[in-house]
């Protein structure tokens, strides 16, 4: 059995998981004023788990189910700094699976608490090692106990597949085929890879954005030159690669709230800041992914 949008829809019918996807697309009328291109924001915070990661979380669990990898003693496992953890915990709660997550200690704690609220077990890894330390710990756990079903968002093809079959087609239909560019940050690279597979054959230009420094504040993005390289990452999926500084990303995150009424996390601000640079140079309908909402960062100094 192969995974398809129809199969996923059938399996989640009548549950909260049915509400994953079909997120709003909103014009950024103030931020794009005076630019050559129009900016449109896809608000992934509208997913029930509060982030873009609901899509990959759902598809990765569905893939494991369809492949027969989840038995009654199984524990779905992944390394995550948060949003994927929330998504997996929510999906596992609905599907009746146990869920365990490895997160770096001392990162913003909201997501850890939310994942626990959904019943997941959260294990903390060395804060100095960041997400890569969490990945190494998850690999170690998976190798030590066969009950763990390590979904591994960095290597799992169901991650980009979710975006190829849902996010990409939604953008195409919401713009009536008039989308010219999609701008998205790179973390696991699932979003940019999946959207690229869906929309590049239709002539849409894909812009991938990374943080400009290994130590950055754009939650969820990866500085690829210095990080563990995700197996699913392929630079060729993007037409343009850009880098984004944290301070400008945070400033744009605040502008989104004050000028557009969109309460975003730092990565949404980072993606919009990069998209503004595209829109200065190029005309068209530029779609930007806003990966999550600002509520998840109330424990940080972002809003002070």
């Amino acid at each position: 059995m192969t995974l398809s949008a129809a199969l996923v829809r059938e399996r989640v019918r009548g549950t909260i998981l049915e509400r994953i996807g079909d997120t709003p697309l909103v014009r950024l009328r103030r931020i794009d004023a005076g630019l050559r291109g129009e900016l449109w924001a896809k608000l992934e915070s509208a997913n029930p788990g509060g982030s873009l990661k609901d899509r990959a979380g759902l598809w990765m669990v569905m893939a494991a189910e369809v492949e027969g990898r989840i038995g009654k003693d199984s524990v779905v496992l992944d390394a995550t700094s948060g949003n994927t953890g929330v998504a997996l915990a929510m999906v596992c709660a609905v599907r009746g699976h146990r869920c365990a997550l490895v997160m770096p200690d001392k990162v913003s704690s909201e997501r850890r608490r939310i994942a626990r609220a959904f019943g997941a077990e959260v294990m903390l890894s060395d804060p100095l090692e960041g997400t890569d330390g969490a990945i190494r710990e998850a690999r170690r756990l998976a190798a030590s106990d066969p009950r763990y079903v390590y979904v591994d968002q960095y290597s799992n093809r169901a991650n980009p597949l979710a975006h190829e079959h849902t996010t990409g087609p939604e953008i195409w239909s919401q713009t009536a085929g008039r989308v010219t560019h999609v701008v998205a940050g790179v973390g696991t690279s699932g979003t940019v890879g999946g959207i690229s597979a869906a929309l590049r054959p239709k002539g849409v230009r894909v812009v991938a954005v990374q943080p400009d420094d290994p130590l950055h504040g754009i939650e969820g993005w990866k500085h690829m030159p210095t990080a563990l390289r995700p197996a699913i990452w392929d630079e060729r999926v993007a037409d343009v690669h850009m880098v984004q500084g944290t301070e400008e990303a945070l400033a744009m995150t605040r502008r989104l709230a004050r000028e557009e009424g969109i309460f975003s996390g730092p990565s949404g601000g980072g993606a919009v800041a990069a998209a503004v640079r595209v829109a200065r140079e190029e005309s068209g309908r530029i779609v930007v992914l806003i990966a999550d909402g600002g509520e998840r960062y109330l424990g940080t100094t972002l809003w002070e």
Binding site: K106, G130, T131, D213, P214, T226, T300, L302
Partner: protein, 92 residues
């Protein structure tokens, strides 16, 4: 006043490839300045132009988050361990 400073992998390039080093200073500001003398540019990765800790950097002295203890003015006792970590993490 000798203290140990531990750095995340993401800051290794700012301190000559090291993730653990010795430094001196009675406050976090002094400790950062001491490391910056040996590794110019280090300070700018941790604090912004106005001298405050960058939003996305958390610093612990022992188990205490310095943001609740005066930020860069936080006292660093002799022998303490100063841990600098990313407040957010990459790759979700």
């Amino acid at each position: 006043m000798s203290v140990t400073v531990r750095l995340p992998g993401a800051l290794r390039d700012a301190a000559g490839g090291k993730t653990k080093l010795e430094a001196t200073g009675g406050t976090l500001r002094d400790v950062i300045a001491d490391v910056d003398r040996r590794h110019p540019g280090f300070r700018g990765r941790i604090v912004d132009e106005s001298g405050r800790l960058r939003t996305y950097v958390n610093v612990y002295v022992g188990d205490e988050d310095v943001r609740t203890h005066g930020g860069v003015d936080a006292a660093v006792p002799d022998g303490a361990e100063v841990m600098i970590i990313p407040a957010m993490a990459g790759g979700r």
